[in-house]
Structures are given as structure tokens and as C-alpha cells.
């Protein structure tokens, strides 16, 4: 493979936070036209590295050389002028501004000294249409989904035509169709001679997209390899986690028991006549294209949103669910898909976050026992190998994946009869995914049930006993394990979709 000249070189970069050494003597070199994968466990230091490159963090020591010139002082403004553009892991958009404005944020088109709104709308609309992103540019980001917000920042990368583009975990919130658009954008950028750094926990994706891969572990570089020399994902995993993972979707056969939860003819604004049941020892997968309404259904069952009609029966009794508290009492739990806005208590520590719904177990006569609270937290931190400095560390100081694990720990600790997981493994490294899947088995062994909502088909197929497919707010079919196949599930997912555009999403 031959790439262009060296765009970015990092020499012995170090960066520490009070609790951890996040980057330890990192060396890295990326060339024009090269797509570099950056992989590593949660908390390995990937996002930190990116932020050092863009100047969002100040490095402690080491050199950064961009196009043969040392960048001794860096800041987001300086790196932008150098031609570095980053799509950060957490969606970084101004919620109150429109799509068009976010698209041009920082360099809106002007006529004279004044913003040219017409041009801004026209150009952003035209550009988004060209790359087949279908979003009304006049809407404010607040009204969009996280995926749409992220698409804006991704599309901007192509528009700005920078010398170095960094994508940090871009696909975690994207739909299939949007992911495809992303790959087209990357291809396009590469052809134009940009260097690209691509971070993802989806290793297949990394293999498909990248020319070379750098593995990071505990803040240090393990090595850089071409995808050709590695050959397969299986070769990459031990480099990352220090061991091979034999069976990712290892599923012990647990006897399926009595019905734990039954939802009959549930209807709401985005879904109609949904009937679902889960039994003890069973994982019910729910599949659908993004926007199919899976989250809405889950939230309605959990009492987070109101629904119009329908019955919810838990352990044989019809229950009335008006708020999350009711469903928690009836033994139903829900892990939300939007960790940042609905999951973490950012300013609070890990103990607080894990115990948020588990205080009853560590309280006596209404008084909290901090020792027990600590032990309870530590137990799950260890089980999920959450990378932390201390359980009394603020959760916002953790890496993205580790924050997700904290929220999962909260629910595993609660251990309700039926646990609804909405995209639980988004942003989680392979090693931990395997851990979490093993924990699923533990849950099932206790005669509990799991509803798993996931857009990642291999995971759904690997773990579920049955898969319910939702299409456009309606049940399109229920598939038994023996009939699982990607094609079949996708066909069902498109069943109620009429428009051509939507069908294209699945292809």
C-alpha cells in the first residue's frame, strides 16, 4: 500500500488525569490517504488521544508534528486552522441551533458582514441531499435524534475538506443507512488525500474500513499493523484484551420457565397493537430499523411515557403502570439507550450512580451504610471490569464505554424480574461485551427474563431465544431461534415500510 506524505506524527505523548495515566509515551504516524483504525478497551485512552490532537486537552509531554511542523501550542482554534477535524464520541452540537447552523458553526456564510441565511440553508440542504442525508435543515437539533445530530457533525467533515479527520466511535448511534453514508464519506475523504483516524469497538467495521490499525492498551501503544497482515478480527482481539475470546455469544441452555411479563395490544403515538411476552430464563430480542419504535415501546412498558391503550401483565397479574416507579415495583427494569441524557448522574461519583436504584439494599432504618454501599459498588465494578481510579470518582471523568458500564451495573445490581436493555453494548469493547453476555446468563439462571433491543444483528442473533421484529410501529413477525438469519430479519423489518428511501436503509 502506498500513502502520501506524513500528515501527523506523535512522539512520546503523555497525558495524566488525577486518577490515571491516560496516555503513556504514545507514538503514532498517519499519512495522507491512509485510514487508520484506533482500537482498544474502554478507557484505553483513545478519546484522550484525539482530544490531545485537536487541542481540547493540553498534553503533559511529548511532541506533535503536523505536516512536518511541530505544534507546540495547540487549541481547538489552532487545530482547526491546521486542518484537523474531529467527530467526537459524545455528540457535540448546539441543541438550540438549527441543523444548518450547526453545519456551518464557526464559519457561517456571509454577505458582507452579515450572515446569509438563505445561502446557509440552500448550501447545507444541497450538500446533505448530495450525500443522501435526509434532514430538514431548518429544524433545531433539539427536535432530532442523537443519530441525526451526529450525522451533521460527520457530514461537516466532508464539507470542510480537512487534512486530518478523526472519527471517535461514530457508528455507536448511527442507523445502518447512516453508517453506509459514513463509509462513503470516508472513502471520499481518502480519495481527496485526507488522513483519517477511525475509532470503533465494532472490529468488523474497522477491518472493512481501515488500511492500518493501531492498538492501544492502558494508554500505551501495543503496535500498529496493516489489516492485511492481521488477516482477521480474531487476531486483533488478543492484542487488545490480552487473551482470546473463545465464544462471544456463549449461551448456556437454561430451561425456559413461566411467563414473567406479558404486554397485550399496547398502542401509543408511535406504535400500534404490540403484544410481547417474556418467560423466565429467556432472552427476547427485539429488532427493527432505527425509528421503528422499539424505544418508544420499551419506554411505554416501563412507564416512562404514556400509552393510549393496552394491558401489561407481570407475574400473572395485570398491573397499572403510570410512572417508572410503578414498573420498578412490579419487577420491570429498563436500561435507556441514551446514556448521557437518561442514564448517568454526571457530577456524581460511581458509587452514587451504581446505587441510584439500589439504596434499599444498603440502608438500615432509613440511614445509608457507606461501607456496604462501597462494597456493593465494588462488586459490580469488578464484575464488569469497569476501569476506574476509585468508586468515589465522578462518573463524567470516565471513558464513554465505562460510563455505559456503570449504568449497566446499576441495573444488574437491581436485578429485576424482567430487564429491558436498550442498545446496551453500544460503545463497549469486545472483552467487556463478552463479560456482559456472561452476566446475561447469570440473570437467566435466576429465573429472570431479558428483553434485548439491539441494532447489532450478530449480537441479537447470537443471544436471543426469540426475536420480535418491529416495523413501522407494528409487529412484523416473531422469529424462532432456528429460523434466525440476517436476510429474513431484515425483510421483516421492512415489511410495513412503503417508501423507497426507507427500503434503501436496510440494503
Amino acid at each position: 500500500m502506498s500513502f502520501g506524505k506524513e500528515i501527523l506524527r506523535l512522539d512520546n505523548i503523555c497525558k495524566s488525569f488525577p486518577a490515571v495515566k491516560a496516555l503513556d509515551q504514545v507514538n503514532l504516524s498517519v499519512r495522507a490517504g491512509e485510514v487508520r483504525g484506533l482500537v482498544g478497551e474502554n478507557g484505553a485512552g483513545k478519546s484522550t488521544l484525539i482530544k490531545v490532537v485537536t487541542g481540547a486537552y493540553i498534553k503533559d509531554s511529548g511532541k506533535m508534528i503536523f505536516e512536518d511542523k511541530e505544534v507546540s501550542r495547540n487549541s481547538p482554534i489552532i487545530s482547526k486552522e491546521l486542518g484537523i477535524y474531529a467527530v467526537y464520541q459524545d455528540v457535540m452540537v448546539a441543541q438550540d441551533l438549527s441543523v444548518a447552523e450547526n453545519f456551518f458553526l464557526g464559519n457561517q456564510p456571509k454577505r458582507g458582514p452579515f450572515i446569509d441565511w438563505g445561502k446557509m440553508h440552500r448550501e447545507s440542504k444541497k450538500f446533505l441531499e448530495e450525500i443522501e442525508v435526509d434532514i430538514d435543515v431548518k429544524r433545531s437539533i433539539k427536535e432530532l435524534s442523537a443519530a441525526e445530530g451526529k450525522m451533521i457533525t460527520i457530514a461537516k467533515a466532508l464539507w470542510q475538506n480537512p487534512k486530518l479527520v478523526i472519527f471517535d466511535e461514530p457508528t455507536a448511534v448511527l442507523t445502518r443507512n447512516e453508517t453506509k453514508i459514513l463509509f462513503r464519506i470516508i472513502k471520499n475523504l481518502r480519495e481527496k488525500g485526507s488522513a483519517i483516524i477511525y475509532i470503533s469497538h465494532n472490529l468488523e467495521e474497522v477491518f472493512d474500513t481501515c488500511d492500518t490499525v493501531t492498538v492501544l492498551k492502558d494508554g500505551a501503544v501495543v503496535g500498529t499493523y496493516t489489516t492485511e497482515e492481521l488477516g482477521s478480527v480474531e487476531k486483533l482481539i488478543p492484542l487488545m484484551v490480552g487473551r482470546a475470546i473463545e465464544e462471544m455469544y456463549y449461551k448456556k441452555e437454561v430451561a425456559i420457565g413461566q411467563e414473567l411479563l406479558r404486554v397485550e395490544n399496547l398502542s401509543g403515538s408511535k406504535f400500534k397493537n404490540i403484544t410481547i411476552n417474556v418467560k423466565a430464563g429467556e432472552i427476547l430480542g427485539i429488532f427493527g430499523l432505527v425509528g421503528a419504535g422499539r424505544t418508544d415501546i420499551a419506554r411505554a412498558i416501563f412507564g416512562a411515557d404514556k400509552f393510549d391503550k393496552g394491558k401489561i401483565i407481570a407475574n400473572g397479574k395485570e398491573i397499572s403502570i403510570r410512572k417508572p416507579k410503578d414498573s420498578l415495583k412490579s419487577g420491570v427494569g429498563y436500561l435507556p439507550e441514551d446514556r448521557r441524557n437518561q442514564g448517568t448522574f454526571a457530577q456524581q461519583d460511581i458509587e452514587f450512580n451504581v446505587n441510584a436504584i439500589n439504596l434499599d439494599k444498603v440502608m438500615k432504618a432509613g440511614i445509608l451504610n457507606y461501607k456496604k454501599a462501597y462494597e456493593q459498588t465494588k462488586e459490580y465494578v469488578d464484575k464488569l471490569s469497569i476501569k476506574i481510579g476509585s468508586v468515589y470518582q465522578k462518573v463524567s471523568d470516565l471513558s464513554g464505554g465505562n460510563q455505559q458500564k456503570v449504568v449497566i451495573a446499576r441495573w444488574l445490581c437491581r436485578n429485576p424480574d424482567v430487564l429491558i436493555f436498550d442498545e446496551p453494548t453500544a460503545g463497549i469493547d469486545v472483552g467487556t461485551k463478552a463479560e456482559i453476555y456472561r452476566l446475561f446468563n447469570e440473570i437467566l439462571n435466576q429465573e429472570k427474563g431479558i428483553i434485548l433491543i439491539s441494532s447489532y444483528l450478530p449480537e441479537l442473533i447470537g443471544l436471543s431465544d426469540r426475536i420480535l421484529v418491529i416495523s413501522n410501529g407494528m409487529v412484523a413477525g416473531e422469529v424462532e431461534r432456528k429460523d434466525f438469519s440476517e436476510e429474513y430479519l431484515l425483510t421483516l423489518a421492512m415489511k410495513n415500510i412503503v417508501s423507497k428511501e426507507k427500503i434503501r436503509e436496510a440494503v
Binding site: 481540547a56 481547538p76 486552522e81 448546539a94 441543541q95 464559519n107 456571509k110 450572515i115 430538514d136
Partner: protein
Amino acid sequence: MKSNQRKAFAERNLLIILAVMAVYLTIATKGNFSSWDNITNLIRQSSINGVVAIGMTLIIITGGIDLSVGSIVGLSGMVYALLTSNRGDIQMASSLAIILALGVSALIGLANGVAVHNGKVPPFIATLGMMTLVRGIVMYSSSGRMISGLPMEFREFSVATMLGIPALAWTWIFLAIFMAFVLKYTMYGRNLYAIGSNIEAARLSGINIGSNLYNFYVTAGLFSGIAGLMLGTRMAAGVPTGGQGYELDAIASVVIGGASLSGGVGSIFGTALGALIIQTLRNGGNLLGVDPFIMQIIIGAIIILAVFFDQYLKGRKTG
């Protein structure tokens, strides 16, 4: 719904609330309320708070708050008075004194900006400290006394009219339209919303947070300074307590006008309506001659109800 439409719509609620109040007061005062005389009074009475509130709108959109505006109002008027009073030692040309008064006001604004941005002092505390400090300066420089003997043409500005509308009101209207335009059509304005909406995203988009924050705080200081001069013409003197308590009225105007104290949201037009609603309550109370204590109870209730009603109308359409 498009967000532009939604904004217009949000302000429509306030217009409705204002209209309901106006209709009620017109009936209750047998037409007195909507006499041309009273309407011009009302606008003039709102104008000083209105101008302060424009500056406050900027700061609130950044997600901050500015408690120092009232003291800056006092300072600006006092600086002008000390420099022009025919009873003092210095007797400067009015125009020069105006420039100096505004310059000092802008400087205090800048100090706020530096404390907030470079000092990382939360805006509430930075401007609270500045409120106390600046009031101390006003008191010290005037020995706590009123300074009168201001130039005649300055004093007459408070009653001057143009096309039947008071000059003070024109000042407000002009500044409001100007700033509404700036917020919508310039980088300055768009950076304001970007920073207020998500400062981290703004920073990572290469927007210079520091220089923008300075700009906003300086502007807020400047508007308070202008309001101080307006108050000066109305009081025909530099008054040591001038502007005291104005921060609350300004903040209330901005928030009633639809802005959110967590930043990113707010509009000049909304703020103007907020300022009018507040002054209408006071004006109405005076016209009706209600027992002042009962009036106070009613005003308190209406402030809450106006915003409740606004929220309710919004909620019904979007929820």
C-alpha cells in the same frame, strides 16, 4: 414544526397575555389605559428597564446572569453628572461626558467578562461582587450625595418627542431593533447562541470563547450605561442609589420573554414584551389606584400566572 415558526409562536403567547391585560385594564380604567397619553407614558416608563434588559438578554443567553447592571446604571449616570454638573470643578462638554460614561460602563462589563472567563468565577458571583464594588465607587465618588446642575439639553431629552413618541422610547425601540438584527444576522449573534447552547461544542468548532464572552459582557455594560444616561435625563441628576434593584426587573423581563436561565434560548423581541408586561402591571396598578399592598400581591401572582400560561400554551401545541 419549524423552529422559526415556533419562536414566533412563543412570542405570540406573550402578545396574547399582554393583549388580555390591556383589554382588561382599558375596561377597568374606562379607557384611561389606552389613551395615547398613557400608552406613550407606558413605553417611556418601560424604556430604561427595556434597555438594561437587552444587555441582560445577551448574558442570559450565554447561560450567565448579570447582577451588576443596576450599579452600572448608577455609575454611568453619576460619571456623567460629575463631569458636567455646573456645581462641580470639572465641566466637560456633554458629548464627551457621555462617551466617558459609556466607556466606564463598558469597562465594568469587560471586568465582568474577564472574571467569568479568565477567572472562572461563576457569573452570579462575579457580577454580585461587581454590583457591590461598583455601587461603592458610585457612593464614594459622589460622597453619597445627589449631583445636580446638569446641562439643560440633557435634562430635556427626557421629555423630547419625535412623531409624538418620547425620545426615550425611540432610544429603546432603536436599540432593540438593532440588537435583534445583530443577534440574527451577525457572527456575534450566532456565536452567542452557540456558546449559550453548548459551550464545549462551540469551543471545539473553533469559536473563540474568551473574546466572544468579553464582547457580550461589554455590550451588557454598554447597554446599562446607556440606560444610566436615560435615567439621568429622567432624574435630571446623578443619584447615588440610581439603578438599585434594576437587575431583578431586567432578569424578570428576559425570563418572562421566554429565555431560559440555562442558556441558549432568548430573544430581544420576547424580552421587550416581558418588559412591557412588567410595566403594564405597575402602570395598571397605579391607574386603578388599588391598595398598594393588595396590588403587590396581585402583581406577584400575575408574574407567575403569565409564565404559567405561556408554558401551558406552548405545551399544548408541542406536547
